[in-house]
């Protein structure tokens, strides 16, 4: 087994989450209702218990490994955090994610073609994909074609 994953800090954080999560699942599984005389053997908590125990073992292996590599030294500083938040990659990530969430929230409220065209237009505009009129054409056409193919041809209801 690999003793050097190269991400000791990440492994440390993940292993702590895994250990806490699996202990919580084990607790929940043991307190689940039991049916009949077989007790835990037929309880709905049996499978979560077994697999949470296996996950706990994996979490402990990861924890041991990350501790050996001093993964607990987070090395966080306000300067690093600020640089991370200012990074172009972080900004792009937040914008894309926010646009997906907004698109989801408006699905079903605004007509599918309109909201889809607006979403596609915004993303292409934000990443400076093409000229605005080409962008408009791509957005409207893609939304309309998808709506027509699914809603009208395949009769699949759209949000």
């Amino acid at each position: 087994m690999n003793e050097n994953s190269g991400m000791p800090r990440g492994d440390f954080v993940v292993s702590v989450i895994l250990v806490v999560f699996s202990v919580w699942v084990i607790h929940m599984s043991l307190t689940m209702r039991r049916f009949g005389e077989l007790g835990l053997a037929a309880s709905p908590g049996l499978s979560p218990l077994v697999f949470a125990a296996l996950l706990l073992i994996c979490g402990l292996i990861l924890l041991r490994r990350s501790l050996a590599q001093r993964g607990y030294r987070m090395g966080l500083s306000s300067r690093k955090s600020a640089a991370f938040l200012r990074a172009m990659e972080t900004r792009h990530f937040v914008v894309v994610l926010a646009s997906i969430v907004i698109y989801y929230l408006f699905l079903g409220v605004v007509h599918f073609v309109i909201i889809s065209a607006v979403y596609v237009f915004f993303i292409i505009w934000y990443f400076k994909g093409v000229a605005w009129w080409k962008n408009l054409l791509i957005s409207v056409l893609s939304g309309t074609i998808i709506w027509f193919s699914f809603d009208q041809v395949f009769l699949i209801p759209l949000p």
Partner: protein, 540 residues
């Protein structure tokens, strides 16, 4: 005699109208398979409704065409975009996408098409000639065996996709299994981990999870990536070279057989088939270090495996009226709707139907091959589109595909949440494939574990009794711990008498040179060398 019947039925299907229906259906299936979220199951379900009033012969031909096309079509988006169109194509991403990134997309698409066709041929052999025998084999799998098979699938997948650090693969697989327990369980109807949220009672759907962990993660990764976009010039031919295929004939036959057997087992389906075939190909390969980095062997194994499953999954449909996979279940329902009664009595009541059905499958496989090769060049243009234009359109398709499965807006939310979960997982080196496979196989693991315990009155020893269970336990054990030093040394000690016997047999027959130490290297030694080589390469 069976071959003659098959050919006779095939010739009978060679009418312009049947060919037209078949090609249109396969093309539709390919489109369904390519679109993230829309699966073979959805395609067959939609076409079942649209062809309900048709003549049964044409309707079933169309449905088989959609099934074959959709399972194959999933490989297109897996190779070009790293988003598997269907869960069956998850293993294709492992080598297909790296091949595409290195400028060999045409070659990868051509090879995937050929491998899919050959896999379908393996399925055809099983479907036409081995249906009664394999139907009996399927019945040997009871709760205990199915439980171990599902565990074996997740273990293999974890090992394969995180070869450098298997613990991360297992964590991903176990996390997937754990998340599959959310919702109302099937034996006692108890609500687990729902916290009073009514939408969670149905659990997390496979499609929202698949689209989230692959599609949304890919969209987030590629759009937030600030490095300049590079267009890789595509080289290589579409039609694969005969020597590439011929060099892989053992791999193809092995993957085909694995696919057929996995497909035959009810409920297991094409999702495991491709991973098991991939794992066996990697173990047998002379270049296992290339797997996951654009290995032709890996691509061929996964594509042959998942298409062989289609034929395999149709065997219990015909022989026992039990579906081998979710799309086969919809196809079975369609057969009943058209007054065709599959099952043990089919051979007596309608002996020729098995061959007619196989002939339809054969025709659909040829249509898939022809269409697959023809659409490679147009598909390559996808790689020329800027990601800032392509990704938002793919997101709209992901939303539609996810919503179309059950018509629940909640599924879209699940897709986004799993995308958010999958993004850090990918960054931290936790593979997506075992996670998704865990969610797919989790309910099977849970149901069969508890049913087995109920059947054995709470005695877990029942899980270790049947020969199939024992074989699967041993395979799982070696998959998980086979590479650890302790197991290898124990195995090496246990194998010593056998090795010395082999050596003396070799000497007796004069196969070895007299100066000794000329025995072919043991697999352990080879494994050691391979591991060392891989480690050195990754260090470099």
């Amino acid at each position: 005699m069976g071959f003659v019947y098959l050919m006779r039925e095939t010739v009978a299907l060679l009418t312009p109208m049947d060919l037209f229906y078949c090609f249109v259906a396969v093309q539709l299936g390919i489109v369904f398979g390519m679109l993230p979220g829309l699966t073979a199951t959805v395609g067959i379900a939609i076409l079942t409704a649209l062809t309900f009033q048709w003549d049964p012969g044409n309707a079933i031909l169309v449905l088989i065409g959609v099934y074959v096309g959709a399972i194959y079509g999933g490989s297109r988006s897996a190779i070009l975009l790293n988003i598997p169109g269907t869960p069956a194509s998850a293993a294709t991403c492992l080598d297909g996408y790296p091949l595409s990134r290195s400028g060999h997309a045409a070659e990868a698409l051509g090879l995937a098409t050929t491998a899919s066709f050959l896999g379908s041929m393996a399925g055809l052999v099983a479907l036409s000639f081995l249906t009664p025998v394999l139907g009996g084999f399927a019945l040997e799998f009871k709760s205990y065996e199915v439980f171990w098979l599902a565990v074996f699938g997740v273990a293999i997948c974890g090992n394969l996709t995180a070869a450098g650090d298997p613990v991360k693969g297992w964590v991903a697989g176990l996390l997937g299994i754990m998340l599959s327990f959310v919702g109302m369980e099937t034996i006692q109807g108890f609500r687990r981990f729902t916290f009073g949220v009514s939408e969670l009672m149905a659990g997390f759907g496979i499609i929202p999870v698949l689209v989230g962990t692959y599609g949304i993660v890919e969209i987030l990764s590629s759009l937030s990536d600030t490095s300049p976009e590079q267009r890789v010039p595509q080289i290589g031919r579409t039609l694969p070279q005969l020597r590439d295929v011929a060099a892989n004939w053992v791999n193809i036959v092995r993957s085909g057989v694995i696919g057929v057997f996995t497909g035959v087992i009810p409920g297991v389906g094409e999702n495991i088939g491709s991973f098991v075939a991939y794992d066996f190909a990697k173990r047998a390969s002379k270049h296992p270090e290339k797997f996951g980095k654009g290995s032709i062997e890996g691509l061929i194994a996964s594509e042959t495996g998942n298409n062989a499953v289609v034929g395999g999954a149709l065997v219990p449909v015909l022989a026992l009226a039990i579906p081998g996979s979710p799309p086969a279940a919809v196809l079975l329902a369609a057969l009943f709707l058209h007054n065709i009664r599959p099952g043990p009595m089919l051979v007596i009541e309608n002996p020729m139907y098995m061959y007619r059905f196989s002939a339809m499958f054969l025709l659909a496989s040829f249509a898939m091959f022809i269409l697959g090769i023809l659409i490679v060049k147009p598909l390559l243009k996808l790689l020329m589109i800027r990601k800032s234009i392509m990704m938002p359109i793919i997101l709209v398709l992901c939303m539609v595909g996810t919503y179309a499965i059950a018509g629940r807006p909640f599924d879209i939310l699940v897709m986004i949440v799993f995308g958010l979960l999958g993004y850090p997982m990918r960054k931290l080196g936790y593979p997506e494939a075992p996670f998704v496979l865990g969610i797919i196989l989790g309910p099977m693991v849970d149901e069969n574990l508890r049913r087995g315990m109920l059947l054995s009155y709470g005695n877990p020893a029942a899980f270790f009794v049947s020969p199939i269970s024992i074989a699967l336990v041993i395979m799982t054990f070696f998959t998980l711990f086979g590479r650890t030093r302790a197991v290898r040394s124990v195995f090496s000690i246990a194998m010593r008498p056998l090795r010395s016997t082999m050596r003396s047999v070799g000497r007796t027959f004069g196969l070895l040179r007299r100066n000794g130490n000329s025995m072919p290297p043991s697999t352990d030694d080879e494994d050691d060398r391979r591991e060392r080589r891989t480690r050195e390469e990754s260090r470099r």
